[in-house]
């Protein structure tokens, strides 16, 4: 059992499976979903401490996924992932999000941000 449980949401399967494996090396328990709708469903069934969500998703957009997640689980922090040059990088963090990370993600930066956000949330 890891220190905490992360749900990673991104449509690049090879990317999320590799990040999950690397998090396991660091004693972090992770799961992934490839789109917003399945991530929302997964959160209804399983407990997570934090969500890491890509904004560019097929089907329901990342913004809409964030909105539904925060409506249903306001206590679970959501970190956003954006591509370089995304307009969001120049704007404030969307309502409900705990912050954002730019792709490509450095695994140690990701873990540090997760821990920082969880600490703020009293984890």
């Amino acid at each position: 059992m890891g220190q905490f449980r992360v749900l990673l949401v991104d449509d690049e399967e090879e990317l999320v499976t590799t990040i999950i494996e690397r998090l396991k090396f660091r004693d972090v328990d992770g799961a992934y979903e490839l789109n917003g709708a399945s991530a929302i469903e997964r959160m209804r069934k399983e407990p997570f401490d934090i969500v890491v969500l890509d904004l560019k998703l097929p089907g329901i957009s990342g913004e809409e996924t964030l909105r539904v997640m925060k409506q249903e689980h306001p206590e679970i922090p959501v970190l956003l992932i954006t591509g370089h040059g995304s307009s969001i990088m120049d704007e404030k963090v969307p309502r409900g999000a705990a912050g954002f990370l730019a792709k490509p993600i450095n695994i140690d930066d990701l873990l540090a941000r997760i821990k920082e956000v969880l600490a703020k949330n009293g984890h």
């Binding site: 449509d11 690049e12 090879e14 990317l15 590799t18 990040i19 494996e21 690397r22 090396f25 709708a37 929302i40 560019k56 998703l57 097929p58 089907g59 329901i60 957009s61 809409e64 909105r67 539904v68 591509g83 370089h84 040059g85 792709k103 490509p104 993600i105 695994i107």
Partner: protein, 226 residues
């Protein structure tokens, strides 16, 4: 639950050649960023394994092979994407040039696929029955196709397909774009497509049938279609 993407049309502007180049390049560089992210994380995983091996964990040859295969596959994906992008941006080199019609459709179709995937739609270029060549404003033709496909994507629903094909006709060259759908979510707006077509000049026609929406771009005989 809300809709897929209410700002879809505005998200990919192509009201000028410059903004069209920008929309395609932004989309493709996002994909390249994903590819490099996978390569970077996979390389990192290899480092994790080696770190574990130093601490006495067994190194699995099978896992190392999988890592090597993943890096090779993503590198190939990146090279292919860059080739397509390079070919696309070079279509802006000359206002008018000779081009292979199907090669151009395959290239722009592939570059548009990432945008289509965000709508859960597949773009399919029909296999060619013969080689077709033409001479014309290649960038403008691709922009008009992009605008038409964008309109089809805007009304498409999950798991739909957009089929694109080309054929020679007495009146020149026809580029057919067919959204295969049973349940479209509205009606395409053709004003921007028509404006781009008229400027070339070319004609655009739309038909809505039970099996979906058809948009036909008709390029006149002075495009030297052979």
């Amino acid at each position: 639950m809300g809709t897929n993407d209410d700002n879809f049309r505005e998200r990919y502007p192509a009201d000028s050649p410059t903004s069209f180049l920008g929309s395609i390049t932004a989309s493709v560089t996002h994909e390249l960023n994903n590819i490099l992210s996978i390569i970077s994380q996979t390389g990192g995983l290899l480092e994790d394994f080696l770190y574990g091996a130093k601490s006495g964990q067994e190194l699995s040859v099978e896992e190392l092979n999988q890592i090597a295969a993943k890096i090779a596959a993503q590198s190939e994906r990146g090279i292919s994407t860059i080739r397509r992008l390079n070919k696309f941006v070079h279509s802006a080199d000359f206002p008018v040039a000779a081009f292979d019609v199907y090669e151009t459709l395959e290239n722009i179709g592939s570059l548009m696929q990432r945008i289509a995937s965000l709508r859960k739609v597949t773009i399919k270029i029909e296999s060619r029955s013969e080689k077709i060549e033409a001479t014309g404003p290649v960038l403008e033709i691709q922009r008009t196709i992009f605008l038409a496909v964008k309109e089809l994507l805007a009304v498409a629903t999950k798991d739909d397909t957009i089929s694109i094909s080309a054929e020679k006709s007495d009146s020149g060259l026809l580029i057919n774009m067919h959204l295969v759908t049973k349940q479209r979510s509205g009606c395409p707006e053709l004003s921007q497509v028509s404006e781009a077509a008229n400027a070339m000049p070319a004609k655009v026609k739309m038909e809505i049938k039970p099996d979906g929406v058809y948009i036909v771009l008709s390029l006149p005989p002075n495009y030297n279609v052979t």
